[in-house]
């Protein structure tokens, strides 16, 4: 039985698309570590980078960890991901969204004493959008309000 030309084209194209998507998924899977923008603290602790290599460290700023040192411009804080914590020092102006309990990406080098020396900070905000009127609530309360109003 002869197959209609357009059915043949449909089958060929669907096979080509499946192969194409498979290739793209394989490539993305192979890139899963290299294409990450930063390392999380547990990766840094498990596999410390060489002392002079520039790396990025990303995670949450631990609550109550931000301290300004005596010179007034150097700050020290702790970045954690729930599994590991890395102390960080940074000298300079911090982005306005840099707050405790929020995300941060620090660019810099790992010091010999296990402290990360950052020369740039980027604030990373999360996917939650909460109106200002709710800012006095705790994160948990705000999340509930968001859940109710959605």
């Amino acid at each position: 039985m002869a197959i209609k030309a357009k059915h043949q084209r449909l089958v060929l194209l669907v096979i080509a698309l499946v192969v194409l998507i498979g290739a793209a998924l394989l490539a993305a899977w192979a890139l899963r570590n290299q294409a990450s923008y930063f390392y999380v603290p547990s990766e840094i602790v498990a596999n410390p980078p060489e002392p002079d290599r520039a790396v990025r460290l990303g995670g949450m700023v631990e609550k109550g960890s931000i301290k300004t040192e005596s010179d007034g411009v150097t700050i020290a804080f702790v970045v954690q991901d729930g599994k590991a914590r890395v102390p960080v020092v940074f000298k300079g102006i911090v982005p306005s969204l840099f707050v405790e309990g929020s995300g941060v990406v620090a660019e810099g080098k790992m010091g010999a004493d296990g402290t990360f020396v950052a020369d740039n900070l980027l604030a990373k905000h999360d996917e939650n959008y909460v109106p200002r009127e709710m800012q006095s609530m705790t994160a948990e309360q705000a999340k509930n309000v968001v859940a109710e109003t959605k």
Partner: protein, 243 residues
């Protein structure tokens, strides 16, 4: 779909559908932007800068939707040789590229106050920039194959389908890889965005999508009119050559 194989039938529908999409789209988008820029609340951490979301997210969506349109049209062109498919793909390219550019620009303007940088090479930003370059490449290729006069040219359609692999990469870039860009706030059924932001944002997306549809219909009509005029000129030249 093959009811539209006859361009005359498509043109009859496009004639009233195009202005309808445009007018309602402009009304909805203007209302949503007004709501978002003046009525919606400021965000807890980001303050007033959050308002750029009402332009940024619809642009990102339409930049990606434009390429999904090209890919769907390319599929229809390759399998069914639908006469309007190539025209639809060409009509999607320019507005898609424009919205991608708007998305990148508003994202950059937003990144400076929110993250502390205009640009980073993380997965989401890089894959979105790649999408813009794919649009440029696709437009150049389709223009070249249009000018080459070798009859049915499959190259733009194949490029349109291959380029579509970038769309899931853009979408999942923030899930697969650590990135500075945050994960999606609008997800099926469970959004991490308060309704105060979500409702005007969804309205803006609807409005801009209608405008996009209107522009695509208008461009399809223009391309068809162009082809008709060209065919008429060619016939005229042929009949004059006979004398």
């Amino acid at each position: 779909m093959h009811g539209f194989a006859n361009p005359a039938r498509f043109l009859r529908i496009a004639r009233w559908l195009m202005p309808l999409c445009m007018v309602t789209g402009i009304a909805v988008a203007t209302g949503a932007l007004g709501w978002g820029l003046f009525e919606a609340p400021a965000e807890r951490l980001q303050g007033e800068t959050v308002r750029i979301v009402y332009l940024h997210v619809p642009s990102a969506w339409l930049g990606m939707a434009g390429w999904m349109g090209i890919a769907a049209a390319s599929f229809a062109e390759l399998v069914w040789r639908h006469p309007l498919a190539g025209i639809a793909a060409r009509a999607c390219a320019v507005p898609g590229a424009l919205f991608t550019a708007v998305c990148l620009m508003t994202g950059s303007l937003w990144g400076r106050p929110a993250w502390g940088t205009w640009w980073v090479w993380d997965g989401r930003l890089t894959s979105m920039l790649v999408l813009l370059f794919l649009y440029f490449g696709w437009m150049a290729l389709s223009q070249a194959s249009e000018a080459s006069d070798v009859g049915h040219n499959k190259a733009p359609a194949i490029f349109g389908l291959v380029g579509a692999v970038n769309i899931p990469i853009i979408h999942y870039s923030v899930t697969w890889w650590n990135s500075l860009h945050q994960p999606p706030s609008i997800t099926m059924g469970n959004s991490a965005m308060s309704g105060d932001f979500l409702v005007p944002l969804l309205l803006a997306m609807l409005g801009f999508t209608l405008i996009f549809a209107g522009v695509v219909l208008a461009r399809m009509r223009a391309i068809l009119a162009d082809q008709q005029a060209e065919a008429r000129l060619r016939r005229k030249a042929l009949s004059e050559a006979e004398f």
